[in-house]
Symmetry: C2
Subunit: 221 residues, 2 copies
């Protein structure tokens, strides 16, 4: 291995180590304020923001929810979610394909953590790198949509391995797309046979109550 | 700026510089063999592999086409494409979210470059990092699908800036999804008003001849 490679690996390890330390600080801050934190990860366009709009509507009155939403550019997601909570901040990552713990730490300053019951982090649309970066969350949710095809668990095993729950979204479109549910579940189960999956649709409303109950059940742990 | 940060940035710059040098070597090899090379980039599940199946069918007899296809895990895409060409190799990237030039260089050894007219690189499903890594291609194609929503050009401007052509795929699903075409094109044009867009569908066949003509026109440049 060349000197260049050794240095590169060392730097990446150092950056990851610092990230994990900041993630632990984030978790401590969240715990001190009694805030549950969920890190939502999925492809671009799998429906994360639309799901969060519905989630905020359903939790309104029951829980005070904040959102930190990551994107390369624009504040569109934050503006969409601002209709349902005033505790929302956009984190623009530029060319970076995932959120890191220090960005979440800075995001805390934009919210009133003491007033929150739940903080949802909407990660950058990407099935790969977000999985490798601890943000200080209590639970990770991996999101697929049926329009992406049934092969995504097999092709993206790391998000399956890392998630506490998988959402399979846009199930209202099943009649119009080629999607072999048996294959999807067989691949997923071959990676993690214990993993809960909730099928959701913002259009039909399927699974939204189940998803919200899942979040609420985390509060009781 | 801390010493750690300076070292990190230097290492990233060194890695990118080495990548660009290898990409230039790749381009020289391709040119020597008279092989046109297209780098196809898009979200997980936007339809890259299905489009390539149709592309290989349509170009059969007219051009000898090879494919290097990138994924975290599995050889599923390569196996699908092997029905249409024997010049196909899968590059598994592990946890890496994009292909790099040295992986393409190694991929050349798995193909008979001298026998090819066209090499298509199917990048890892990701709208972000593939854009930043030159592989030695002659043209880059950015692919969106209507199921991802009309906001993707605005939220992913770098792939729009870097692409020589944009494909808007799965247009057969337009009746079933919320997708404001005017907004999609307005955002895209605000980033690049000269960029050609071809709407495609593997189901209806829309745009596939146009796409194949676009590839063939590159050979004439």
């Amino acid at each position: 291995m060349s000197e260049q490679n050794v240095m590169e690996i060392q730097v990446v390890e150092n950056v990851k180590k610092i990230n994990d330390e900041v993630a632990d600080l984030n978790r401590a801050s969240l715990n001190r304020h009694g805030v549950l934190c969920v890190n939502l990860m999925g492809s671009p366009g799998c429906g994360k923001t639309t799901l969060l709009e519905d989630t905020l509507k359903k939790l309104s009155g029951a829980m005070t929810v904040g959102v930190l939403t990551g994107d390369l550019a624009t504040t569109r997601d934050a503006r969409r979610l601002a209709h349902y909570t005033d505790q929302v901040a956009q984190i623009n990552t530029g060319r970076a394909c995932h959120l890191e713990a220090n960005q979440i730490r800075k995001g805390f300053d934009l919210l009133d953590l003491a007033a929150l019951d739940l903080l949802i982090i909407e990660n950058v649309g990407n099935l790969i790198c977000p999985v490798s970066w601890d943000l200080g969350q209590h639970a990770r949710v991996g999101m697929f949509s049926v329009t992406e095809g049934d092969d995504k668990p097999a092709k993206h095993p790391y998000i399956v391995l890392a998630s506490d729950l998988v959402l399979l979204n846009k199930v209202d479109l099943l009649p119009y797309v080629t999607f072999d549910s048996d294959r999807f579940y067989a691949d997923l189960r071959s990676i993690r046979d214990d993993l809960e999956v909730i099928q959701t649709s913002a259009i039909s409303g399927e699974g939204l109550d189940k998803w919200v109950s899942w979040i609420r059940s985390l509060r009781d742990i």
